[in-house]
């Protein structure tokens, strides 16, 4: 097999080579390959038909990168793993895309790896999303989790590590039966110039509750694309928080459907970016059933020449009366060269709804900095306090204190390592 692959053609060639050896439905893969061949990487070539949903993020750097999936590991997995300071809880660890039982600690809930039991799921749209098509074409491993009715699955950590210049396409499927509960901590990190292109789907049945906390702490040379689909039934809750701090370029896309009466969805996030990092948080919330609630608080802290993107679309179907939707996107620009693109969209077909959204962009307040300094707090610490205060509203939404403290440590680390 060739040593390196580059661009859409490279991915398609990889598919040709692997065809027949990949687990799961080969027809679905072939259809996905056709869709990916037609669409290509968003922004990957100059003359490409532009996708509105990729208006602010171009994957040209991904298209130009050279991946070497067969090269030997260049970095120690133990080093990367210990840097993450994972919680003392069950963990499923994937290294360069493959499940590693030796590094994992299986949970008490149902678990199967995608490699042994390929579950493509039912919520994804490979024909509309080129990166989902790419994943569907090449996915070779991932996690299928199943929490039985009324079972409390506790905390499960889903960890993806990269040790070399590789393209990884994890495929996860998480199902919560009626009344079940789970806190899923999804962590990704690594070293090298790699692409992590995850597709995950979440089925939250009646009265079930899924808390999904993500930490994206990829290598500064890495690309991170994640597309998640959640479907929440009557009285169920999908409560998510995403912290994006790593990667050269990241795109986190979430599609959440409130499908049953009284469903609740929280899509909260924080992005902390510096240098020339690009971080895109894109969400689509579909209110299909009546009396549902959706909440979004998204905070961007942008320094140096970094660029943040937030696209938040809320759709309220005709039958989704008494919908309660709230969306707030805020950016704190720590440098005059930092940039935020924000695109909120409301599409409402029901007549009795409460939907609000807002966007703010600002800098640290000079008076607040002076107030702290006049009390003896050094300037760097004063700025750190104010940045954390800005983030507090989003982080406070993480109810589990252990998890919140763990996220706060990542915020501290980010602040400590960035240039003042």
């Amino acid at each position: 097999m060739s040593a390196t692959l580059t661009g859409s053609a490279g991915f398609l060639a990889k598919f040709e080579t692997l065809q027949g050896r990949l687990p799961g439905d080969s027809n679905m893969r072939a259809a996905a390959a056709a869709a990916f061949r037609a669409a290509g990487l968003p922004g990957g070539t100059q003359h490409q038909r532009r996708l509105e949903s990729w208006k602010y993020t171009s994957l040209r750097p991904v298209a130009e990168a050279r991946f070497a999936p067969d090269a030997p590991p260049r970095h120690e997995v133990e080093t990367i793993l210990s840097g993450l300071a994972l919680l003392d809880a069950p963990r499923l660890v994937f290294v360069d895309g493959a499940y590693r039982a030796d590094l994992s600690q299986p949970p008490a809930i149902g678990f199967a790896s995608f490699a042994e039991q390929a579950e493509m799921g039912t919520l994804t749209w490979p024909d509309r999303e080129p990166m989902v098509a790419l994943n569907t074409m090449l996915a070779s491993d991932g996690a299928s989790l199943h929490v039985s009715a009324d079972q409390d699955g506790g905390v499960v950590q889903l960890v993806s590590l990269a040790t070399r210049d590789i393209d990884i396409h994890p495929r996860h499927c998480i199902r919560l039966d009626p009344g079940a509960q789970l806190t899923l901590l999804e962590v990704s990190a690594g070293q090298g110039t790699y692409l992590l292109n995850t597709v995950a789907e979440f089925h939250v049945a009646e009265g079930a509750r899924l808390t999904h906390v993500r930490l994206q702490d990829e290598a500064s040379t890495a690309f991170h694309v994640s597309t998640a689909y959640a479907n929440v039934a009557k009285g169920g809750t999908y409560d998510s928080f995403t912290l994006n701090i790593g990667g050269r370029l990241s795109r986190t896309e979430v599609h959440a459907e409130l499908a049953g009466v009284g469903a609740v969805v929280h899509l909260n996030a924080a992005q902390l970016l510096d240098r020339t990092q690009h971080g895109d948080f894109t969400t689509v919330i579909r209110h299909v059933a009546p009396n549902c609630t959706s909440r979004q608080t998204v905070k961007n802290v942008l320094s140096d020449r970094s660029r943040g993107v937030f696209q938040g679309r809320i759709e309220v179907a005709r039958d989704a009366q008494k919908t309660d939707g709230y969306q707030m996107n805020q950016a704190l620009l720590l440098s005059p060269q930092a940039e935020i693109d924000a695109k909120p969209e409301l599409e409402i077909f029901a007549d009795d709804v409460k939907c609000s959204h807002g966007t703010t962009v600002g800098e640290l307040d000079a008076e607040q900095i002076f107030y702290l300094r006049s009390r003896g707090v050094p300037e760097h610490e004063a700025r750190s306090i104010l940045v954390r205060a800005f983030l507090a509203e989003a982080l406070d939404a993480v109810a589990n204190e252990t998890v919140r403290a763990w996220l706060e440590r990542s915020v501290e680390t980010w602040w400590a390592r960035r240039a003042v």
Partner: protein, 249 residues
């Protein structure tokens, strides 16, 4: 002691202070009075190091060191404290954490051990009780949702905990009722001693009944136009500033 010589300062090119000479010996409380716009608050800001004011002439030494060459946090470490006329709100910053961070930053810079959360809370609770502050003020975000009087008392609480050598109180009495005024005055009086001095900026004689100054200075058009003993404040209360300003002009 605080020694101000020929201090001139401007903001966005507009001169506000036009040559201030003022000496506050250790252990003394001096009041600064004067009409609105005379430069009283600017003096407080310049002494504590706010960056948007430009010092164009003069010097300020505090216990022999050049105050104007120091960053705001270094001045705080040296013992300077400004009670803000309009205390700043810090949404998302817990008041107790704020106070502990400030106290520990000062202790670090003075080579003292930091206080842990338990030690600090014991101190903060005792001080807030002495100032008759509701205990939940420590749990709330800094000055957020505080009434005008609560904000002023929070400034005095910070002063009580940080124990400055020089306190500059910028109209800390404005907007306070009689009881709160007495609490603020008592808070300052409690710190009085040979190592403590204060500059009390005020419009009203009322505060000075409880917080009796050693000297009173009248600031007008960026200069001190008259200095005297505590009786000067009483005289001003009767006759106003008009005569003094005309005299100076």
């Amino acid at each position: 002691m605080l020694d101000i010589r020929g201090l001139a300062a401007s903001i966005v090119g507009k001169p506000i202070l036009k040559g201030i000479d003022l000496t506050v010996p250790e252990g003394e409380v001096h009041a600064i009075m004067g009409p609105n716009g005379s430069g009283k608050s600017t003096l407080g800001y310049v002494l504590s190091g706010r960056e948007d004011y430009e010092v164009t002439a003069g010097s300020v030494t505090f216990n022999g060191i050049d105050l104007l060459g120091m960053e705001p946090e270094q001045r705080a470490a040296a013992g300077v404290f400004l009670a803000f006329q309009a205390p700043i709100e810090l949404p998302g910053v817990n008041n107790a954490n704020f106070l502990r961070t400030a106290l520990n930053a000062l202790r670090r810079s003075r080579g003292q051990d930091e206080l842990d959360a338990v030690q600090f809370l014991k101190l903060a609770r005792a001080e807030s009780k002495r100032l008759a502050m509701p205990e939940d003020m420590l749990k709330r975000n800094v000055n957020v949702g505080f009434s005008g009087g609560e904000k002023k008392r929070n400034e005095v609480l910070q002063m009580a905990i940080l124990r400055p050598k020089l306190a500059i109180l910028d109209e800390t009495d404005s907007g306070l009722d009689i009881d709160a005024l007495r609490i603020v005055a008592d808070g300052v009086n409690a710190l009085r001693g040979p190592d403590f001095s204060a500059l009390v900026i005020t419009h009203h004689q009322r505060l000075l009944d409880h917080l009796v100054p050693n000297r009173v200075h009248v600031l007008a058009h960026g200069r001190i136009v008259r200095s005297g003993g505590p009786e000067l404040a009483k005289e001003l209360e009767k006759s106003g500033y008009a005569g003094l300003i005309a005299e100076a002009a």
